[in-house]
């Protein structure tokens, strides 16, 4: 049963049903039904304190759910964490390592600590992982001398060490420069095309937009949207036209212009080509024309509220707040 589920291409890699976590009075995660499928590059989005990290921690068996059911790679968590997580590489809330040891010593210890890390292949796997994340020449320096970006790369190397079937990455590009972000994005796409499912959380929407195929958006502990990125960003049924003859265009289109911002017009129509022909035929010069698509930012801002790190006077008296903020490490 498990084997067939895992081998069929559209099978679920991470599913949660009614996943709920309450920390005292605070409802951090509220009835979340996640569905991450094999082959996805799944982006898990939401404001700070919306419950992303708590959800990831429950999936990794670190935090016990108050209610609900989790399955990772066909195995229930935390009941069968050992079987479920052996094929998972994770980066949660920033990388961590023993500061007085080198990158290789750190990876070696972590590899030896759990299942699936064979001694004979260890050296080769460590070298390969360091190479993948761009730390091949790192040498014997202790990790405490590393920059933030190097630590992040080391954390990624730890997640990649056993070529996992599922990568769970919390803010994987944190601390990296634009070049590094690009490298990590290319690496994740490459791994994904080789069959690894990538489940990442981020609040960098541009990054998710460029990387992910499916997204789930959480707000105040609830999953408010889940679906293919392309669907969420479907055309809005309007066409954006940029023209120096905006006044003439408005007159010509007679009420179909729904919004105007200087020389940018938003016209209600599904057919940009026909609109273009009409405008040009009417003597309106067109600089740019195309269907209006919502950016991921539009979608996210539409369905979420301010993050829990924003403590304004308007929030006083709010009966529900997000999870308590933890200091980054």
């Amino acid at each position: 049963m498990t084997a067939t589920a895992a081998s069929s291409p559209a099978s679920s890699v991470v599913t949660t049903h009614g996943l709920t976590k309450r920390f005292g009075q605070v409802l951090a995660v509220d009835d979340i039904d996640l569905d991450v499928r094999a082959g996805d590059r799944y982006g898990f989005l939401g404001p700070n304190g919306s419950g992303k990290t708590t959800t990831l921690r429950m999936i990794l068996g670190l935090v016990h759910a108050t209610r609900g059911h989790i399955e990772v790679l066909g195995q229930p968590v935390p009941r069968r964490s050992k079987a479920a997580l052996a094929d998972v590489g994770a980066l949660v809330e920033g990388p961590a390592a023993y500061g007085h040891l080198s990158a290789r010593a750190n990876l070696s210890l972590m590899d030896a600590a759990g299942p699936g890390g064979g001694l004979r292949t260890r050296r080769r796997r460590i070298d390969a992982a360091l190479e993948q994340v761009g730390l091949a020449g790192v040498g014997r320096r202790p990790v405490k001398q590393y920059s933030l970006g190097m630590r992040q790369r080391l954390g990624l190397a730890g997640a990649l060490l056993r070529t996992p079937r599922l990568l769970i990455l919390d803010e994987p590009t944190n601390g990296l420069d634009p070049q590094g972000i690009r490298e990590v994005r290319d690496l994740l796409i490459e791994l994904n095309q080789a069959g690894t499912t990538v489940f990442l959380s981020s609040h960098l929407l541009a990054e998710v937009e460029q990387l992910c195929t499916r997204v789930g958006i959480v707000d105040r502990g609830r999953l408010v949207r889940q679906g293919h990125l392309a669907e969420l960003r479907a055309p809005t049924g309007r066409v954006a036209v940029r023209t120096p003859d905006a006044g003439r265009a408005v007159a010509l289109l007679d009420g179909r212009v729904e919004d105007r911002l200087d020389d940018l017009l938003l016209v209600r129509t599904d057919d940009a080509a026909a609109l273009n022909a009409a405008l040009v035929g009417g003597g309106v010069r067109v600089v740019e024309i195309g269907p209006e698509r919502r950016t991921l930012e539009d979608v996210v801002l539409e369905v979420t509220s301010a993050g829990s790190d924003r403590i304004g006077s308007d929030r006083i008296g709010s009966d529900r707040i997000g999870a308590p903020q933890r200091s980054p490490r």
Binding site: R57, G61, V63, L109, A113
Partner: protein, 267 residues
């Protein structure tokens, strides 16, 4: 996993610095004694020290008595207090558990590493003190505290007993620190908590008004190891000490396990 924890312990500079400090204190005491030949009078100062001047082979036991009240428990509390809380504050705990390492396995591995540290520390003190003692004070036949002489094999056997007994007493300290280490993410907090338990216990042991609770205090029978050097060995307090520590260790380890295996790891 146990191997990993032992490697971590042995590759940590702090382990060896604390062992070195533990060895240094009795050595300094020995040097002063040998230079001045002014020993504490019987019944004063650390146990057994008064007998050392004439009797170098007794120095391992005297050295253990020197580090036992404070130095050794501090070192043990620091190591044990750091074992879970240190991983938590470094952030490595979440990676170990997500690796995945079972929580029970992790606690057991940590406990084994702490026991290894205790043994390394106690044996290092005893061995170095044997070398220092026999060189500075000569090695006449050991005279027991009761006045009869004993041969070297017998003296070694008694010293090994003392080492094991003190190690067992230190396991009680370690169990307190390990439990606190699962309660907090601050290794310093866990170590201080364990030490405050010890200091309280030591104060109450010396307080006549607290005589009613004295037999149940964790440090009550620590110094009973001196009885190994009586002739014949006086087992009464030693047995009580072993039993009392067993209760403390058992209860605290059970609490450690219960707390850690059900805890939300939010560090």
């Amino acid at each position: 996993m146990i191997g990993v924890e032992l490697i971590k312990l042995l590759r940590r500079p702090r382990t060896w610095v604390s062992v070195l400090l533990l060895v240094a204190l009795p050595t300094i005491v020995a040097v002063f004694l040998a230079l001045t030949e002014i020993g504490p009078r019987p019944g004063e100062g650390p146990a057994l020290l008064s007998a050392v001047l004439s009797n170098g082979q007794l120095f391992p036991a005297a050295a253990l008595a020197i580090v036992l009240p404070l130095f050794l428990p501090v070192a043990v509390a620091v190591v044990a207090g750091d074992s879970i809380a240190g991983e938590a504050s470094a952030g490595t705990l979440r990676y170990l558990l997500a690796r995945p390492v079972g929580r029970t396995r992790l606690v057991v591995a940590k406990l084994v590493a702490v026991i290894a540290f205790i043994l390394i520390a106690v044996v290092a003190v005893a061995l170095s003190a044997y070398v220092v003692g026999t060189n500075l004070f000569g090695s006449e036949p050991l005279t027991s505290v009761s006045g009869r002489s004993v041969n070297t094999a017998d003296a070694t056997r008694r010293t090994v007993y003392a080492v094991l007994y003190i190690g067992w007493s230190m396991l009680g300290v370690a169990a307190v620190a390990l439990f606190l280490s699962t309660l907090t993410d601050s290794s310093l907090g866990a170590a201080l908590g364990a030490l405050s338990v010890l200091v309280t216990s030591q104060v109450l042991v010396a307080l006549d008004a607290a005589a009613a609770v004295r037999p149940y205090l964790p440090t009550r029978y620590w110094l009973a190891f001196v009885d190994f050097f009586r002739d014949p060995i006086l087992w009464r307090d030693i047995e009580r000490g072993i039993a009392l520590q067993a209760v403390y260790v058992g209860v605290l380890l059970a609490m450690t396990w219960a707390n850690f295996t059900t805890k939300d790891i939010t560090s």
